[in-house]
Each structure stands twice: as C-alpha cells, then as structure tokens.
Symmetry: C2
Subunit: 311 residues, 2 copies
C-alpha cells in the first residue's frame, strides 16, 4: 500500500471513471488501472466492480474510501506541519545565558529579535557555563551565550563580541583618581569575586594573576551574583571587576559605585572576554544561528567590540 495508490483509489471512487481519474492524477489510464489492481491484489479484496459502462465501489471499497480519506488528510497534515516549520527564522528557541551576561543582554536581545525575527519565540535559561553546556549537549537547549571556549568537540561557536573588564570600587576609593587602570592597581586583599563555577570569576582572576595566591583571605565572601558583589562594593567591602556591559544603565552611580576601564596594552589587548554563541555542531538550525549572531553583532553597544574579521 502506498499514499499514491490511495489517492488513485480515491480519484476513481470519486469520478467513477478510470480515464477521468487518471487525468485528475496526471497519469495515464493504464498506469492507474494497474495500480488499482495491485492495491486490490495486496488487500485481497475487490475495490471496484467495473464494466465498460460503470465503475462502482464495492462494500469494502466504500468502507476503505472513508479510511483512505482520513489517511490522506493525515498526509496533508504532515506537509502542513513541515511547511509551518520550514522557515529557519521561525519557531521556538531555548537559549542559555550565563548570569554575568543575561541581565544585560536579554532586554536588547528581545527587542532585536522582536524586530528582525518576528516569528521567532525566545525563551531563556540563566545558569553557569558547565550546566548550560550539559543542557546544550543533551538537547535541552538550542543554543547558549557563553564567554568561554566550549569544552566539547560536539559544540560549535560563533564569536559575538569582546567585552572589556572594568574595575568597580566605592566612591572616594583611591583608584578613583585614575581614569584608566592597570591590573596591578588592584589590591588582592580587597578583591571580591563571584563564587566558583562562574567563568567570570576565573577570568577576573586571570587578569589579576598577582592576586591568585593572596586571595585566600576572601574565601568566605564569595557572592553568587554580580548584584551582591556590587552591593558589597558599595558598602565598602572591597573592589571587584565587572564586565563592561554591567556599567550601563546608571545602577552603579545610584549606589555610589564607580567604574573605570583598564588601559589597553600596546597591542590593543585589554583585559576582556570573548562572548560567543554556542550550539551543537549537529544543530539543524545553523542558519538561524548565523542569522542570530549576525543580528547581534550588527548592532553592538559602544562598550563592547566586534570581533576582528580575520578571526
């Protein structure tokens, strides 16, 4: 049995005429006759009672016609479903974002996709890098925005932008006197860090390499969110590093926290992290990933830098 055979069958049943049915199916009459015969042989029943003058459905034929219509409707539903999903820039997409990026990027991301991909429905999961990669690999996420090279070879990445680090300290702090800082300006004793697992903790530490060994004193004050750390900074508990985009929006000034960029090195390499769109190498939505990354990099905020093309 075959969907084509069923459509031939329906055509004959509805026209009561092999020739006209063949025309409707865009095949020759002998072809159609042969296929009907094949179907009858396969089912072991006679579907039509034929004579030169008339073609009449048998009792089984009538019964089967009803079911055949149902089956063909199902086939049409499959085509419809496929059609509805054939736009690569449409549908639902579940995006994981690390906590040091999520709050800053989600509003603009939603605005941008609403504008450029009106048929796309985004949902978000905010978690740390490792759990996000796990979810990505298991299929629980379609993509993630991360700030590290993906660990697994099954994952693919598209660079989005480089985001410099800034130092944040309370108003009146000695660092406020300089417009640009260097890593050594940070006093390891003062440095506040996110809890382990946050990639930004490791990145901040690698900027302040001199602080690694001496930071043990702060072991008991590791905050689980940027928000908490900045509150600690505002309260005068220390200084910290924050990603550039976290300086936006005026929240810092309100709480009396001051932020300063670092001086760029001669080669233009300041302290920064590379933010990437990550997804399974096997993802069927590569096209969407490319479109999405391009849309993001097309309209970057001034505080971050597009990735140089040759990379």
């Amino acid at each position: 049995m075959n969907l084509r055979d069923l459509s031939y069958f329906c055509a004959v049943a509805e026209t009561s005429h092999f020739g006209r049915a063949a025309e409707r199916c865009h095949v020759s009459q002998p072809t159609l006759s042969a296929q009907i015969k094949k179907l009858e042989d396969e089912l072991g029943v006679t579907l039509f009672e034929r004579s030169n003058k008339s073609v009449r459905l048998t009792a089984v034929g009538q019964e089967i016609l009803l079911i055949a219509h149902r089956v063909q409707e199902g086939a049409a539903d499959i085509r419809r479903a496929a059609m509805a999903h054939s736009d690569p820039l449409a549908g639902k997409i579940k995006l994981g974002i690390i906590p040091t990026i999520a709050p800053m990027i989600i509003p603009s991301l939603l605005a941008m996709t609403g504008r450029k991909f009106p048929a796309l429905h985004l949902s978000f999961v905010e978690d740390m890098t490792d759990p996000l990669e796990d979810m990505l690999r298991s299929g629980a996420l379609d993509a993630a925005i991360l700030a590290t090279d993906p660990m697994h070879s099954t994952l693919e990445e598209i660079p989005l932008y480089d985001e410099p680090f800034w130092a944040a300290f309370p108003k009146g702090h000695r660092l406020a006197q300089k417009s640009h800082l260097v890593a050594m300006d940070i006093d390891p004793q003062e440095l506040l860090l996110l809890s382990e697992g946050h990639c930004f903790r490791d990145q901040a530490l690698s900027v302040c390499r001199h602080a690694v060994s001496q930071n043990a004193a702060q072991a008991d004050t590791r905050a689980t969110s940027m928000e908490t750390i900045l509150n600690l900074v505002a309260a005068g508990a220390g200084v910290t590093l924050i990603p550039a985009l976290a300086t936006q929006g005026g929240r810092l000034a309100e709480t009396g926290v001051i932020a300063r960029p670092f001086t760029k090195s001669p080669r233009g390499e300041g302290a920064s992290r590379r933010v990437r769109l990550v997804f399974r190498r096997t993802s069927p939505r590569l096209q969407l990933m490319l479109a999405l990354s391009e849309a993001i990099t097309d309209d970057l905020p001034p505080l971050v830098h597009a990735v140089p093309k040759e990379e």
Copy 2:
C-alpha cells in the same frame, strides 16, 4: 511521501538509532538513511539531528511523528477492513426475489445460509422481475432469484431448479376426478391470473395457450398476489395455476383448495419454470454466487427438479 517512508521515520524516531531502526524495518541502514533524507528533502525540514553518538527528533519531527502514527493507524485500519471482507462467504448481501417464489423459499433459505454461511447476512426485496432487474443493474441488489431469462447482457445467471406448475381448484370441482391434468383440461373462462408484470402470469398463459384470447372476460379480476387468487379459488371463483412449491405447508387443504400436477410430456417436459440466481456479470462476488447456488441445489424439496447437468 510514502507510507513506507513514514514507517522508517517512526522506527528511527522510536529507536533513536538508524541501524536498529533498519533492522526493525528489514532493510539495510544505508537504505533507511537515504529514505529519511529523501523525506526530509521533500518536506523541506530536518526531522532528525544526527551525530555519531545520538539521533534526536527535532521540534518538527516530534510534531510529525504524532501525525505519522495517526496515518499508519489509518493504513492498518484499511488492511483490517480488507481482511474482514476478504472471506467471500461473509458480509451482507441483498437478494431480490419475485413474489411467486419469495414466501416459499425465504424460510428454508434463511435456515440454510444460517447453517452453511454463518457469516453471511441476507436481506430481501420482494418485487416483480422488471424492477428487480433494474435494481440489480443499478447495484441496489447483489443478486436476485428470478424465473425468467435475464433480459440484459450485463446479467449472468446460474440455474437453480425447475419448478412444475400445478392446477388449483375448489373442492368438488370436476377436475378433482383426475390425478394428473393436461393443459386442455383448464377452462379459459374459469382461469384466474395474477396482475400484469408477474412473470408467472405470462408463464401460466403460455401453458394454457388456448386461453390467451378467451381470457378477456377475467380482465377485471386480476389479483396482485397468489394469496388473493387462492382465496378466490377457495370461494369458487375459478381455477388457477400455482408453482409447485406453493402446494407445500397444508395451507391449501385448510382452505379447501385442491391441487393437481400436470402430466409430463413424453420427453419429460411438463409445464414448469426454471428458477435462477441472477447477478451482474461484473459482480465481485461470483464466488459467493456459486457457493450459494450450489447450497440451494444441494438440498432441493422433492416437488422441484434439479437442472440436468449438461445445461
């Protein structure tokens, strides 16, 4: 698209493994891969996200899987329906019978089919030959039991039996003195006939050929049923011919009507009619027709005669 493709698709979706799915479908893995790819191309969507380590349904794939199951269920329903109708000796059959046969044959017919074809459901239409032939040709009937050669070449017949004619007259009638009659014994003035359209009317007249022209006197007393005629006979209104089987059951004796057979001619040809099973030449139920006619002739009542084999 194709029912086979859909079953391949379902197999892969359910095993998440091309090799095992291929095994389940009894085809090679490359075959299955190719067909899935073809299906994806045709639908314009990716159904599976494949890697060496895992095969995962996409969102469209999940949606389509549900519909595909529905479609396959429909295909199974078609096969089931065909299976249920594949026994040629089962199902419903609508049988037309002329009024001068119906009352005598229906009880034994029902008993016989109930015994020999328990899966067969008979229903009956009692009418005169012409309307029955029309219904037969239009498909409103599956078969008919008639006593005439079918008029249309589209109809086929199987002889069942030859049924002699008997004369019926009131108790004390002069004919009662003879044990066997000849046609000329019938007085045209007395002959009562069924109304026009009944084949038995014409057959009775052809037996009493001498009565044809002289029967005009009875023109106003044509009864529409054998029952009525016999009541007239019982009341002394005349004599009539009846088919042999109408003499069964004791009803005649109760009403004081006497029946006598005719003498057979030297060649064994008495006055009689041939009763046949008639159906469309194109009928898909030829097998049932043969079985049915054989079952009827296998167990004829003593008053009728099997049709000689050479005919």
